[in-house]
C-alpha cells in the first residue's frame, strides 16, 4: 500500500521538473524545486524504510514510523511537550550562547546558521517540569542544532540543571542525543565531560535520582559522560549509541561489524541498559520511576 503511494508520487513529481526548468530561466533558486511539489510539511519520509506518511499521522504516532517503528529524531521542544504535563515546564538559562572561545575558523557563522535552522540557541534545553504532577529537572538535547554536539553551553546548562536538581532535591532526567564533542571548542568541549560527570557524582552521592534517556544517536563525548551514568539507563528502540562510530571503527581497524552494531538492542544485549522503551510508553515509565523514588522509605 505504501509502496503504491510512493510510486504514484514519484511519477507525479517528474512532470513539474519542466516547470522548474522555466523557473530557473527566470532566476529561481534550483534547490527550491523539489519542495514545491508537495505542500510544505504535508508528507514526511521515514529515513529508515523510506515510506512516506502524512505528517499529521506521524505527529499522532509521536513521530514513530508506522511502517518500520523507527523513532525519528525530535526537536527538544517537541520532546519536552511529549514528556511534561500540558506545557508545565519552566526553562532555565534560555539566553545562554556560545562565544566562539577559540576563534575557530568558520565557527561563528556556522553557529548563526544553526540557530536560524533550529530555532534554538544551542543543542540543549533545560528546565523544571511536572511529569504526572511530579517535579523533575529535565535537560533535553536537540540533534538539529549542530548535531547535538557538546560545547561550553551544553556542558554549562546541563551542569547548572544538575546543581538545580541537587538544591531542589528532585530527580534529574536527561534526554541525550549528540554526535559528540563540539570540536570547534576543542579542549573546552572535552572538559564539559568531566564537569557534567562531576556534577552528577555529587548529585547522585547526595541521594538524587538520575534517569538517562538515550535517543538516536548518542555518540562520543556525551555517550562517555552523562548519558551512561544514569541510576537507570533507558534507550528508545533502535537508538544508536556508543563511543566510536561505525565509520571510525571501520576506517581505523577495518573490523567487520555486526548489522545491529551499537543499536539500543545491541547495547541491551551487552548489559549497558536497563530497558528499551517505546516512545509511547516513555512518559509513563519515567512517571513510574519518579514515583518509586518519591517515598521516604519504610513501611
Amino acid at each position: 500500500m505504501f509502496r503504491d503511494l510512493f510510486q504514484k508520487k514519484k511519477k507525479y513529481a517528474t512532470i513539474p521538473s519542466q516547470r522548474w526548468g522555466n523557473e530557473t530561466e527566470s532566476g529561481e533558486e534550483p534547490q527550491e524545486r523539489p519542495k514545491r511539489e508537495i505542500p510544505e510539511g504535508l508528507m514526511n519520509k521515514c529515513s529508515k524504510c523510506g515510506t512516506i506518511h502524512y505528517s499529521k499521522e506521524l505527529e499522532k504516532n509521536l513521530k514513530v514510523c508506522p511502517n518500520c517503528g523507527y523513532h525519528m529524531r525530535l526537536n527538544a521542544i517537541d520532546r519536552i511537550m511529549m514528556t511534561v504535563d500540558d506545557g508545565q515546564f519552566t526553562e532555565m538559562d534560555a539566553r545562554m550562547e556560545s562565544k566562539d572561545p577559540l576563534k575557530f575558523p568558520g565557527y561563528a557563522s556556522k553557529l548563526e546558521q544553526q540557530k536560524m535552522n533550529s530555532g534554538l540557541r544551542d543543542a540543549v534545553i533545560t528546565g523544571e517540569g511536572l511529569i504526572d504532577g511530579q517535579p523533575a529537572v529535565l535537560a533535553v538535547m536537540s540533534f538539529d542544532f549542530f548535531s547535538g554536539s557538546m560545547g561550553s553551553v551544553v556542558g554549562e546548562k546541563i551542569t547548572r540543571a544538575i546543581e538545580h536538581a541537587d538544591a531542589r532535591q528532585i530527580p534529574m532526567i536527561i534526554f541525550s542525543t549528540s554526535g559528540g564533542a563540539r570540536m570547534q571548542e576543542s579542549i573546552l568541549s572535552l572538559m564539559q565531560m568531566a564537569k557534567t560527570s562531576a556534577a552528577l557524582a555529587r548529585f547522585q552521592e547526595n541521594g538524587g535520582l538520575y534517569v538517562s534517556v538515550i535517543t538516536d544517536p548518542t555518540m562520543g563525548g556525551v555517550s562517555a559522560s552523562f548519558a551512561m551514568l544514569g541510576d537507570v539507563n533507558i534507550a528508545e528502540p533502535g537508538a544508536l549509541f556508543g563511543f566510536a562510530g561505525r565509520i571510525v571503527i571501520e576506517q581505523t581497524i577495518r573490523q567487520k561489524l555486526p548489522e545491529n552494531f551499537q543499536t539500543a538492542e545491541f547495547n541491551m544485549e551487552h548489559g549497558q541498559l536497563d530497558m528499551v522503551i517505546h516512545r509511547k510508553e516513555m512518559k509513563s515509565t519515567l512517571s513510574q520511576l519518579l514515583d518509586f523514588h518519591s517515598g521516604k522509605g519504610g513501611f
Binding site: 521542544i77 556560545s98 538539529d144 570540536m183 571548542e185 573546552l188 566510536a244
Partner: protein, 365 residues
Amino acid sequence: MAGEMPFEMPLVEMRKKIDELKQFGQEKGIDFNDEITRLEERYRQMESEIYSQISPAQKMHLARHQQRPTSLDLISIVFSDFMELHGDRMYGDDLAIVGGIAKLDGHPVTIIGHQRGKDTKDNIARFFGSPHPEGFRKSMRLMKQAEKFGRPIITFIDTKGAYPGNTAEERGQSEAIARNLWEMAKLRVPVVCVVIGEGGSGGALALGVGNRVLMLENAIYSAISPNGAASILWKDASKADQAAEAMKITAEDLLRMEVVEDIVPEPKGGAHKDYEATGEAIKKHLLVHLRELSRMNAAELIEDRYQKFRKIGEFTEQAMSTLPASRSEVNIEDQPQEELQSDVEPILGNEEEMKAKSSRSKRHS
C-alpha cells in the same frame, strides 16, 4: 643524536659543518679555532631561535615522536621501587594502561599511565596505547585502592584516544570512561595528572580528572585528534597541521584557558633528547603540587577538584542573536502547546538541510 624533526634540520647541518671543520683542521694541522668559535656562537643563536618558536603543528609531531619517553620510561626515573599491578578483576588486563604502587621522594603513591609500545610487537600488545574498557576499569580499581590506603594518585596521559573497536563497544567503552570521570570527581586523595605526550579525547580525560593537571612543554591535549578534526571539517586528514594551529592544543594555550595549572619544561629539542632531565623536571613539579595538596583534607580535595572543572567553559548569557522565532526567551510555562510548536518552525534551508531535518515538525507550514 637521532630522531630529528624537519624543523631541526638547519641545526643538524650546521653541527655537521662544525664537526667537519674540526676534523679537517686536525688532519691538516691548521688552526680554525676562531672560525669554530664563531660557528658555535651562530649555532647557539640558531638553536634558541628555532626552539623558542616551535609551532603547534611541530609540537604535535614532537608529542608523537617515536622516541618520546613513554609512561614506563618516565616512571622509572620519577619514582623508585615501582611495583606494577594488573587486571580489572572483571575481564582482563589491558596493557595499554599500566599502573601500580611506587615511591615518590620516599612516600608511597599510586601511579597510572597510558602505555604506548616501543616497537611494532609491543605496540600490538598494547593497542598503540589506546585502552579498552578493561584498561579504564583497571585504572579505576587502582585509584580506589589508593583512596582506601590514603595514597596520592599520579597519572601520566599519553594516548591518541580510547580504542575504537567492536569488542571495546560491546564491553561498554562509554560507560568505562564515564565511570572514571564520575569516580575520579569523588576521590578523597590528591590527584595530579601529567600530559606527557598526546592527550586525545575521552580516552585521555578518563585519567585526567585531577586537582592539578600538568603538561609537558611539547605535549598536546584536545577533544579530537587534529587528523580527525581535519577529516571531518575539511574532508582531508592531511590538513592535520592546519587543524593543529586552529584547535589550541598546546600547553601554553591550555594554561591560558585554565585547563592546566602548570607546564613542565622539556630539554631543548624535546623530551626524547634527554629522558633523565625530563623525568627530573616532572618530579620537581609533582612534588610542589603534592606538597600543596597534602595540606587539604578529603572534603577540601573533592571541592577543589570540583571547582577546577566547574569553571571551565566560555559562553555568554546575553543572547547575542535574534532567533527566527523568539521562543528561547519566553518562559514557556503555561503557554498553549500549539503556539510553542509554531515558534520552533525552521526557516527553509536547502534540500540537504531539509533532508537532515526530515523528522522535524512541519505541521504549521
